[in-house]
Symmetry: C2
Subunit: 448 residues, 2 copies
């Protein structure tokens, strides 16, 4: 019976790990370059921290941890019979696994508010757990890579977060397009139409413009219950096109009577004007992610050369920490999806050579005496910073070479009795098959 792992979870072998580390390190470096500082929170949070923060569906997807010791103590048989699973779970369990990085961050800010200097710019790269039904590309344990700043209303934060996105994908070599919208623009549209509760229907319908055309969208809006007058009013929005400046000018007219709408336009205009990144950023009114959550600018990133959903998103939210009793703190953040980035880099064959795990050099082991000699040589090669292995056993040459090939070690060192006497190392280039005799210094020079 072969052992296995829980469904929806994954082992990461050396090759995957090297690639994942490349992704995490790149994101980490760019976050740090912008002055974001890393924190980590415990994998387990109290259920009182997590419950009710992700909606009813979210509560069901929390992994709950059974209390240690006699967890049944306070639950009588009568209670067991009378209560349903969620009620019993709440009594058997006081802890749960982190569901995202945002709620623990809010909890962290409130718990440590006296030590924190605001604005607080933090990033966090940790796994989260969700009891989702496992399916292709959806896992029960996966990493999130979030950066957020709380305690500053300034749009400078939005600008820098877009620059971070741009820089990360530039480093990856992934061509992306950044979509930007603003919750206040959506509020403005609803205000102007007098249809505050229809904004989701409206954005969903507008989003289909490319597929079903103007008539199709209009038909859908009417079917959604909007009046002909409202649909007429929406025409410039549905067909909105041109440069960002043109779009913003049109929207400024359409929303001229809405204070919120004009404020949203002004914010988008400022962010777009200061961003100056290489990746194209454009206003997209159909972007409406997490409508109940975000309150200002919203972003989303799409890869241009791969058919895949959003690989990145973020936005501004007010009152993140209010749920934990600290109101009035505004925040803005972004989140990179490591798994999607992994898939994009794989599909486009963009992982660099450095994202390869393992030694650059393997010393073949010809026996005890030669092995001891190679151990000494290997130490010196390592002192030059070159990852190096000595094959531990004096196994058959074929087996040792097979090992080098399987691990894609680019160079192999052969030091037999003759080379020991000469004070040289026979170095084989595993790619070309060429072999040459070198001094230790020459070898280090070549491999460095």
């Amino acid at each position: 019976m072969k052992p296995s792992i829980p469904k929806g979870t994954r082992d990461f072998g050396p090759v995957e790990m090297a690639r994942r580390n490349y992704i995490f390190n790149t994101i980490r470096e760019v976050y740090a370059l912008y002055g974001y500082r890393q924190i980590e929170t415990p994998s387990m949070e109290l259920l009182s921290t997590l419950m009710g923060k992700y909606g009813e569906e979210g509560d069901k997807l929390l992994f709950k941890i059974l209390n240690s010791g006699d967890f049944t103590r306070s639950v009588s048989t009568a209670d067991y019979e009378a209560q349903n699973a969620p009620q019993l779970a709440a009594r058997f369990c006081e802890k749960g696994l982190r569901y995202d990085l945002t709620v623990p961050f809010a909890r962290y800010v409130v718990q440590h508010r006296e030590e924190l200097q605001l604005p607080f710019k933090r990033f966090q790269i940790q796994p989260v757990w969700r009891a989702d039904r496992p399916q292709k590309g959806r896992y029960r344990e996966f990493y999130q890579c979030d950066a957020d700043v709380v305690g500053s209303d300034s749009l400078v934060n939005e600008v820098e977060l877009l620059q971070i996105v741009d820089e990360v994908y530039r480093r990856f070599g992934i061509r992306v397009a950044i979509k930007i919208n603003n919750r206040k623009i959506l509020t403005g549209i609803a205000e102007v139409l007098g249809a505050a509760d229809r904004i989701i229907d409206i954005t969903v319908a507008i989003d289909k413009f490319d597929k079903i055309g103007l008539e199709g969208v209009n038909a859908e809006l009417l079917a959604d219950g909007l009046s002909q007058a409202q649909v007429d009013q929406l025409q410039p929005i549905i067909t909105l096109s041109g440069t960002n400046a043109e779009k913003l000018a049109t929207m400024r007219q359409v929303l001229s009577s809405s204070e919120a709408g004009l404020k949203g336009i002004e914010e988008v205009e400022y962010v777009l004007s200061q961003y100056e990144g290489a990746a194209e950023a454009s206003l997209d009114l159909t972007l409406a992610r997490g409508l109940n959550y975000y309150t200002g600018c919203i972003f989303e990133v799409k890869a241009l050369d791969v058919e895949i959903g959003s690989i990145n998103g973020g936005g501004r939210y007010d009152n993140l920490t209010g749920i934990f009793g600290l109101p009035g703190l505004s925040g803005v953040g972004i989140s990179f999806g490591a798994d999607r980035i992994y898939d994009v880099l794989t599909q486009l064959d963009l992982f660099p050579r450095e994202a390869h795990a393992g030694a650059r050099l393997l010393f073949i082991n010809f026996g005890e005496k030669e092995g001891a000699h190679c151990l000494r040589l290997a130490r010196q090669v390592r002192q030059a910073g070159i990852p190096t292995e000595v094959y531990p056993d004096a196994a058959k040459m074929k087996k040792q070479m097979q090992y080098a090939n399987a691990l894609q070690v680019p160079y192999v060192a052969l030091v037999g009795e003759q080379e020991m006497q000469e004070g040289l190392i026979a170095l084989k280039d595993m790619t070309t098959g060429e072999q040459q005799k070198l001094t230790l210094d020459e070898l280090i020079e070549k491999l460095r």
Copy 2:
């Protein structure tokens, strides 16, 4: 009501994270330098993988995860009444959190054996969870940093693992002593005495030699039930001293009739002769860690300048993967304790400047126009790889400087209207208080 976290768990703020990353990165780099390759396994394992692997006490310390959905489905009220907590836990839960990195590694090797090239040298740096009673220095979530090689009996592995230990502590600047012993030597002692079951009592008693002297140890051994003849035989072992060579020579005489004992001496002799590290390594017969687990060489590392327990340990074990149906694979490994290393580095004030989180430069924000200008300057400074912040709001100067101080940002850039006109940046050194006007290129040169 201030939010909190489960007892025994920790938040790591930016300063702690920078220091922890320094520890993990150092260990990771040295492991990689020796050709060990990183893997990660899921936080959750099936309880069938974990249960029974850590003894009865260990089973109690596993954190178990409640099954999703209606976890009560298969447990009737009668069963609930009849069964005890462990039995019910086994029915309510099929998954548990990783308790160490060794069992998941063994599971990994067996599950992936067809993809693996042996010998398999892996390292793994991940948290583990134990429902221990929380106390000072003991946590319910903590990181382990393990390296193991399976599928090779060669002592070259032991030698390299000691070199890794030596190199890691050399990089940290922590002076350590390495203790080495061999399970076979202990077996030999028991064989020679004809007291195979007393080996733990014997090592415990010998370990007190420095405190209670020869007579004290002898008295304790007699009290433990050893005969006077056995205690007499043990005298050269209790008073063992001198160089490693002298100790080995004495032991070779004492154990001359034990094949296992002589084999153990030979192994220790080989490892000590090839090790060649800077930290002193010495034979210590009182070292008997995890006696039921290890089968060959055993190591332990102590910091010389701090009163703290072992900061590192390891050894060779046979048949690690046998529990999962793959017998005959020998392995040897080491484990670094990140929390203890953190404490030692803190006590000895050894964290380097690079283990500091945050920006090297902060641009003060004088208003919208200046802020926009600084955003552009900051981008160029970042392109030179210098972590840089722009204070997002045009807050009072005092508040911005307070922010720089709190985050220990070493340099602050002041660019007002005048500097904008001059094309210069006023750079303030926050340590000396000195201020000078520089071009952007000069500033980058200075901070790089």
